[in-house]
């Protein structure tokens, strides 16, 4: 057993801040912590499928926290002065209503009345940075609002550069005119729940068959020029064996599908039970499964931590889909990564622009005309292919009351907008285990 880091976490029962250690053990890496009142916890965070020390890189460990109320303070008051990272993406809930009742749901909404359009405008005005902000319209299920086109239009008029829709795809499949309206209103791209390539998965996770719905939603979005990123929630034993199939499904549908964004199941919001270590699906395990299940089509070495995030919060891989549906990798581990600054040197902006560039479908322009050439060393062919058929494989590993690491939390760039405050995503949706 080797201690590699000291940090802070919370007691999963009372939520109080406590110190924690990251320990490499024989069967994985654990976050160990103890609450004077509720006892000790040892939570699996990594399964040794990849070297965690190398993955951490030169990320600074958490220093002594001055705010002993973090993250409780942030939940009530928004980002505290010790928060290290500026906002990349701002999530705004536009409804509490939903047309599904999923087994896992980070939001766990209670069907309350919708926030008014005026209030939404006020909220956006409180956080918008003109020509920079990326806002995610979320819920509930945002497409239950008939005035979503007005919301999208208002976000654009208030200065948001990118407007993302988080959706289960049901209305996008059933109402083509609605898709046309949200596209015309200025929606940038769709983040669509997509858990698998057969209906068994949807019956287990979402309570109904949904594969045909997803297919139709992608088709409708493509018709109106909206890029779709597939977002699977990976639950061990339910769809963890479909990772390769999901990727192949997305690659076959490029450029309509812009990538796959994996979310290993997060035990926050609505959770069926207190998570045991064996129910956790870790980031290194996901990368290993991606390589195995795609038969090497995607190699783990082409998946790297984002420079703009804490390394344990996710990874990204950037590719070009070739005409024979293979992937040409752009992401590799680089020794000179820190020197990589020819484009954008502000990390939040860099991440936001990466997202916008990749998840949005290319508009017709001279730079991105379809080319017959696949010579990636030719500058014109490369630019055409990367713009039209760029494909990203990304992941975000949410934190819960068990594995929450304040070192990671301090670097969070995904913030929920609530009554004029910005709250780190995993704090906003944190579910304590008090009733477990």
């Amino acid at each position: 057993m080797e201690k590699i880091r000291t940090t802070y976490s919370i007691c999963p029962k009372c939520g109080k801040q406590i110190s924690a250690e990251i320990l490499i053990k024989d069967d994985g890496v654990y976050l160990d912590k103890g609450c004077p009142e509720h006892g000790n916890y040892s939570v699996l965070i990594w399964k040794n499928k990849r070297d965690i020390l190398s993955w951490y890189g030169d990320t600074e460990p958490a220093v002594t926290l001055k705010n002993d109320l973090c993250p409780e303070y942030c939940a009530k008051n928004g980002l505290c002065p010790e928060h290290k990272s500026s906002t990349c993406c701002t999530l705004l809930e536009v409804t509490e209503r939903c047309n599904l009742n999923c087994r896992f749901c980070f939001a766990d909404k209670k069907n309350g009345p919708d926030i008014t359009l005026e209030k939404i405008k006020e909220e956006i005005s409180s956080f918008v940075i003109p020509r920079k902000t990326l806002v995610q319209l979320s819920g509930g299920e945002p497409t239950l609002r008939d005035d979503l086109p007005e919301i999208i239009r208002a976000a654009g008029e208030l200065g948001c550069k990118y407007v993302q829709l988080n959706s289960n795809g049901i209305r996008l499949a059933e109402d083509d005119n609605y898709v046309k309206n949200i596209a015309e209103a200025g929606l940038s791209f769709v983040f669509m729940q997509f858990d698998g390539t057969d209906d068994e998965v949807y019956l287990k996770l979402r309570g109904r068959k949904m594969l045909a719905i997803k297919e139709k939603a992608i088709e409708n979005c493509a018709k109106h020029g909206l890029g779709v990123t597939l977002v699977p929630t990976i639950v061990p034993g339910i769809n963890s064996m479909q990772i390769g199939e999901i990727l192949r499904y997305g690659i076959m549908r490029s450029p309509a599908v812009r990538g796959v964004h994996f979310q290993p199941v997060g035990h926050l919001g609505r959770i069926p039970s207190i998570p045991e270590n064996q129910s956790r699906f870790t980031l290194d395990e996901l990368m290993s499964e991606i390589e195995d299940q795609t038969g090497g089509l995607i190699r783990a070495e082409n998946l790297q931590p984002a420079q703009s995030d804490h390394p344990l919060c996710g990874f990204h891989g950037d590719f070009i889909v070739t005409k024979n549906r293979k992937l040409y990798p752009l992401t590799v581990k680089r020794s000179d990564a820190s020197a990589c600054c020819c484009g954008i040197d502000d990390l939040a902006t860099r991440k936001r622009e990466f997202i916008g560039r990749r998840w949005k479908r290319a508009e017709a322009s001279p730079c991105c005309q379809e080319t017959s050439s696949e010579d990636m060393s030719d500058m014109d062919s490369f630019l055409s292919r990367v713009t039209l058929n760029g494909f990203t494989v990304t992941s975000m590993a949410f934190q819960d009351a068990g594995n929450i690491d304040i070192e990671r939390l301090q670097m969070c760039r995904l913030h929920v907008a609530k009554e004029g405050k910005l709250i780190p995503f995993c704090v906003n949706y944190l579910t304590l285990w008090a009733d477990g």
């Binding site: 950037d318 990589c340 020819c342 991440k351 990466f354």
Partner: protein
């Protein structure tokens, strides 16, 4: 540079010619045609190429 304007190498006093040049950035190599001195190999990168295609390529392969 104005289109179709002839360029002469300041060192060798010979006409530049179009030539396929290779550029490397972050472990990737790309080529495109630029004006080059056939004698000493000096190349001319116009501003619109540097701020246009080259910049786009650089940003495309930079990390998230």
């Amino acid at each position: 540079m104005e289109e179709n304007k002839k360029l002469i190498c300041s060192r060798c006093c010979v006409d530049f010619k179009m030539y396929k040049a290779n550029f490397s950035y972050l472990d990737h190599s790309f080529n495109t045609e630029v004006m080059r001195c056939p004698s000493c190999g000096q190349v001319y990168i116009p501003e619109d190429l540097a701020k246009g295609k080259m910049m786009q390529v650089e940003v495309s392969i930079e990390d998230k």
